[in-house]
């Protein structure tokens, strides 16, 4: 495969000012996938700040063993809303709606998603969902955890809050299904001529796997929500043992969705990492096919591991054993990815700027979360640590150290493309260092807490755990502070930052062939495939030189 230099399409190259997306379009029902992508990212990041603010209150309460800052009942609402906001209004919309929408059409050489209007509808469902959820703070927000296990969620005092919670989950769920339909059809049918599945960037593979999971799993959650809603509002007894119902059935339905949901939250991030590493380490991605297949493997296995959240729920033994084996097997495809990334870095020319720093940060912290996940996957181990801070540590390592780090890596990488401006590198490094330290300080010690005997979801705890909790709380405040340099950097750079070239990282995937930011229909003329997505490396140097020569004569 050869590399050609592309005549890029900023004004300089073609001599005509390309049409630009006007700013007000970002506040309308736009059907442009790039506008929708940015709408998703900005909206979900706002919810991240809200979710983080809630977490800060949680951590402040936990600084002392007594329940002194907030009422214990309200404490339950705090972590319920924190978990719900973070998962349903931050990570899921950011990685699928945000990055997925922005990047997939650009990467496969399409002008837009297959169903642009459906895309816009999916986005605009998340806004009422978020507002609805926030409104429940006026009525007593849901307080039964983001898992909302019955019978507690049926007998709860916060009846209205729980109903609102169900409503907003149904809305984001619908949004998620519509988006999944759109991605599957787009990736399957809208690839540009000449791009087969195996010359697609890995991010698109990841989005495919993610969308299949969302498509198959989300409706089951919707079913659970509807049944729970009936129990709450009409007095049926699906999940209420007093009327012959079975609370464990709810757990099955809930986790049938919510386990795959964790891969929905991380697969696109795996994709981001696979995109960020090669251009910043100047090497091809190592083991393209293995990474692509491992996404599909994770997708397939991910559908059959849900009961590992229910090892103590009184499920029969054979079920626990089956799910233990399936769960442990997920380590294999994930390991393939991790090792391939590390091999990509090996021998490269690492440009240690914010995108690569966050990507490497992702690998190092996600690894810890994954390994603690494998420990949890072993049934007897999980029985001791289930519903303790060990689990809290696990999922913050994969969700914060994984998803959030990956999102940051993606934001630093594509910010120039999205906005046409560069982010400030110095503040990016500050952001990284603070986040990295804060993250380990907050969530690392939680492993010990859980193993030693501190349950999760408690406002009051045994004083022997106080010192470690203080460390966690300090870490959480560092994390809160760490977002400040990022927010300021992003907002300032968006308006006043240094103008970004079309291809600041010398990257090869198709989104870098158009202007920064891209024009409304992505390219002025149809893009043509000339190389694989990851043909970096010294060996291509001569070919590249030739290509430069030929393409400049063509232009």
């Amino acid at each position: 495969m050869t590399q050609t230099l592309t005549p890029t399409q900023s004004s300089g190259a073609s001599g005509v000012e390309p049409t630009k997306t006007p700013w007000w379009e970002f506040f309308t029902f736009s059907v442009d996938h790039k506008v929708i992508g940015i709408q998703y990212l900005v909206t979900s990041f706002t919810f991240y700040l809200i979710g983080g603010a809630l977490a800060s209150v949680v951590r402040a309460e936990l600084a002392t063993p007594d329940s002194d800052l907030v009422d214990p009942a309200f404490y339950n609402s705090l972590f319920t809303m924190h978990g719900t906001v973070m998962i349903f209004l931050w990570i899921v919309p950011a990685v699928t709606g945000g990055f997925g929408n922005y990047l997939v059409p650009l990467m496969i050489g399409a002008r837009d998603m297959a169903f642009p209007r459906l895309n816009a509808i999916a986005f605009w469902l998340t806004i009422p969902a978020g507002l609805l959820l926030m409104s429940s703070f006026f009525f007593g927000p849901a307080s039964t955890g983001w898992t909302a296990y019955p019978p507690l969620s049926i007998l709860t005092n916060e009846h209205v809050g729980q109903v609102i919670w169900i409503g907003s989950i149904l809305l984001v769920g619908t949004s998620s299904i519509l988006a999944a339909v759109n991605f599957i059809v787009t990736i399957w049918s809208m690839r540009m001529p000449g791009m087969d599945l195996f010359s697609m960037p890995l991010f698109c593979w990841a989005m495919m796997a993610t969308s299949v999971l969302a498509l198959l799993a989300t409706p089951v959650l919707a079913g659970a929500m509807v049944l729970l809603g009936f129990d709450l509002l009409i007095g049926t007894n699906f999940f209420n043992p007093t009327g012959g119902g079975d609370p464990v059935v709810y757990q099955h339905l809930f986790w049938f969705y919510s386990h795959p949901a964790v891969y929905v939250m991380v697969l696109p991030v795996f994709g981001i990492i696979s995109e960020v590493l090669p251009p910043h380490s100047r090497k091809p991605i190592f083991g393209y096919k293995a990474i692509a297949y491992s996404s599909m493997m994770i997708c397939a296995l991910g559908l059959f591991v849900w009961a590992h959240h229910m090892f103590t729920s009184g499920t029969p033994d054979w079920l626990r054993v089956f799910f233990m084996v399936a769960t442990l097997l997920v380590a294999v495809p994930t390991g393939i990815k991790v090792f391939s990334w590390v091999a990509t870095l090996w021998g490269g020319k690492l440009r240690l700027e914010s995108p690569l720093l966050f990507a490497m940060g992702f690998i190092s912290t996600f690894l810890i979360g994954g390994l603690s996940g494998v420990m949890l996957g072993s049934t007897p181990i999980d029985i001791h640590v289930h519903d303790t801070y060990f689990v809290v540590a696990h999922f913050h390592y994969v969700l914060f150290g994984g998803s959030v780090f990956g999102i940051y890596a993606g934001l630093y990488h594509w910010f120039p493309k999205m906005t046409g401006r560069m982010l400030n590198e110095f503040w990016g490094k500050v952001h990284f260092v603070l986040t990295f330290i804060g993250m380990h300080l907050t969530f690392g010690p939680m492993h010990i807490l859980g193993l030693q005997g501190m349950p999760r979801r408690v406002a009051q705890y045994d004083p022997q755990f106080a010192p470690i909790n203080v460390i966690c709380t300090i870490g959480a405040f560092i994390l809160a502070i760490s977002t400040i340099p990022f927010v300021i950097n992003a907002v300032y750079s968006w308006f006043k930052g240094e103008q970004a070239p079309d291809n600041p990282w010398n990257a090869l995937t198709l989104e870098w062939t158009t202007s920064s930011p891209p024009i409304p229909h992505n390219w002025v003329a149809d893009p043509v495939l000339t190389t694989g997505p990851y043909d970096y490396g010294e060996e291509y140097k001569d070919a590249r030189k030739e290509a430069i020569a030929s393409s400049s004569s063509a232009a």
Binding site: P7, M190, S199
Partner: protein, 207 residues
């Protein structure tokens, strides 16, 4: 670069941009049927989840249906089932007709399907009114109403799709052998509703 762009001159650039903006969907093949099928897989999972829940309730319960649940009448739902299942064949005729550009025939078949669907819903309502248990009587009753209710909702959506197609087909030239997404979509959806009913009927009434 993974790709490059064919160089464009200043003069035709405007034109191309304009073309793409105006072209909208026309530039790629019609993917709406594909999209609908993918969406129906998702819908299928919704029913799958509810069925699985039903089966679990059933297998955990000591007796099923719980003591004292009145027997379900089989005659009316049986007739209803026959009507709904045959309507699937009827709507298929419409699909075939339009592919041969027989708009009138397609309209008639659609009308027939609509009537059959409406009879099904009427039968369902009649059954609801004459059942001796209510939504909250017991677990069986609740699952019965939720499953059939959910399905009934889908029948009603299907009916409104059919009605929409019928109204649109009044405009001459709206549907033809080359452009008939509406007709195809409505019939695919209708088949789906039908299949779900068959499973549901077996689970609730027969098993």
């Amino acid at each position: 670069m993974q790709g490059s762009i064919t160089p464009v001159t200043a003069t035709n650039q405007e034109e191309i941009i304009h073309d793409h903006a105006a072209a909208g969907h026309a530039e790629h093949p019609d993917l709406r049927v594909f999209g609908l099928i993918v969406f129906l897989i998702s819908e299928g999972m919704l029913f799958f989840g509810l069925f699985a829940a039903y089966l679990t309730f059933r297998s955990v319960a000591t007796s099923w249906p719980p003591e004292g649940t009145p027997e379900l009448e089989l005659l009316l739902p049986g007739i209803n089932t026959i009507i709904l299942v045959s309507s699937s064949f009827v709507i298929h005729q419409a699909d075939s007709a339009i592919k041969e550009n027989k708009v009138k025939a397609a309209q008639l078949w659609f009308l027939a399907t609509f009537i059959m669907g409406a009879i099904f819903i009427a039968g369902q309502i009649y059954e609801y009114q004459h059942l001796e248990f209510g939504l909250t009587t017991n677990l069986f009753a609740s699952t019965f109403y939720v499953l059939t209710g959910f399905h009934g909702l889908h029948v009603i959506i299907g009916l409104s799709l059919i009605a929409t197609v019928l109204v649109r087909s009044l405009k001459s030239g709206h549907y033809s052998n080359t452009s008939h997404f509406g007709i195809e979509a409505a019939s695919i959806y209708w088949h789906f509703v039908d299949i779900v009913w068959i499973v549901l009927f077996l689970l609730l009434y027969i098993l």
